[in-house]
Amino acid sequence: MNIRHWLPTPQKMSDAVQLRASGFTETTMRQSLGMVFLLGLLAGFLPFLVNLQQAASAGTALPLARLGAQASLLQQTPLDYVFPLFSPAQIVELFQLIAGLPQPLPGWLVAFFSALGEWINWPLRWLALWIVYGALVMVCNSVLGANCRLQPFFAATGFASTPLLLVGLSPIPCFGRVCGLVGVIWALVVYIRANEEVTNLPRLRSLAAVLLPLLFILIVTLSAIALVLLSVYLFATGF
């Protein structure tokens, strides 16, 4: 297995993040797949260390350690939390009780497993974003008159994961959030440029093809939230 078959050259990545047209050509979908997965892993490394430290210090799985941390937070600001079924004090107690329940495996091993699982989720989420969002954009491209094949499209748009690497700095207070925001905006710009380059659509159409799926996802999400709220309301009022 040759690494050059699985990753584009650093020069290509550099060209792509600087929005140069040469960055989006002569790359295969296999190289893009490798790049998205590897960059996802790299971005998740710092959060992995933070998660591992948090879970290991609590001696439990990461979700339970987070519940424990949430309980401490609620104790400090109980008035900020409103829940109709429990009082804030009971919520704190419940979270602490759950976080304190013993598990069969040793705490350090559970902490490692849960942090590792969270780490592996990073490249999987990036893959999902790349493939699912890409498929939606391809539908829009096709409707807007582009004549482009799937493989070159995915090969080019994979480069949007390069600036997304900045999201991995998110555990750093304040600076991390800013870096994350910059990374997301930069990735979107690279994505729009890649789409324009690979489809040869005029800039405005290319922009519309990339942004329309965002609108679609927003509408679907809002509809789902409305449906859930309606179900809860109907359940609460006994139909």
Binding site: L85, L101, V132, S142
Partner: protein, 234 residues
């Protein structure tokens, strides 16, 4: 003739939407047998991975009974009145096993059962998807035979191998990723097997998926209605 030694190469290339594995599948002397064996292999691998993941997850979390009892105890001490409390507790107790089975937490028995049901379910889905898409592809002017369609579409299950990552506890693979990638692979398979232009092939792949989704939703609604009518005792 069965060629399992080629499956890793086929799967890798199918995930990258390359035409070669579909061509080889279509040109095979028994494409549907090859497809059947490929689906069974993927199903068994996924089920084993999920079983290991379930065992590790169960060992990494407190016993589910203890967790449920803690929540119920807190609920009883909460601000809810008698009837509401009873309703919430009933819903929670009914939904708990489903939640466990879905997440793999403390449901090793269910995961053992899925060693048989996952490959069978995958084969059933593949046959149904293959049959419906064959009919639609023929209606769209496709030239392939049913056996060739089934052979090519077996590769659309390649994306399910991402579920192998669930061997590690707390890893979750988005179902939408699996389904969308499957549709993309099916689109390439239909293009090759039926020599269809891209647009009709895409319409057939998406149309088949939506049709099956609609039928599944209708069956689920009908089952739910029956369950309501029978008072939850079906």
């Amino acid at each position: 003739m069965l060629q399992p030694q080629n499956y890793p190469r086929f799967i890798g290339k199918a995930l990258l939407l390359e035409p070669d594995p579909f061509v080889e599948m279509v040109d095979d002397d028994n494409p549907w047998i090859e497809g059947l064996f490929l689906c069974a292999c993927i199903g068994v691998l996924v089920a084993v991975a999920q079983l290991i993941g379930s065992l590790l997850l169960t060992a990494s979390l407190p016993p589910s009974d203890a967790l449920l009892n803690t929540v119920l105890q807190t609920l009883r001490q909460g601000t809810s009145s008698g009837e509401t409390l009873f309703e919430i507790e009933r819903t929670l107790r009914n939904g708990w096993p489903l939640l466990l089975a879905y997440s793999g937490y403390d449901s090793v028995g269910f995961r053992l059962l899925s060693l048989a049901t996952t490959p069978l379910g995958l084969i059933g889905h593949w046959l149904l998807f293959g049959f419906v898409s064959h009919l639609l592809a023929r209606a769209a002017g496709g030239q392939g035979t049913l056996a060739q369609t089934l052979g090519a579409l077996a590769l659309s299950n390649a994306s399910r191998l991402l579920y192998l990552f669930t061997m590690i506890p707390f890893v979750s693979v988005a179902a939408v990723l699996i389904h969308v990638w499957s549709i993309l692979i099916a689109f390439r398979g239909l293009e090759v097997a039926h020599e269809l232009p891209p647009r009709p092939a895409a319409l057939v792949a998406v149309g088949t998926y939506l049709l099956l989704l609609l039928v599944s939703a209708a069956v689920a609604v009908a089952y739910g209605a029956l369950l309501l009518i029978a008072g939850g005792s079906l």
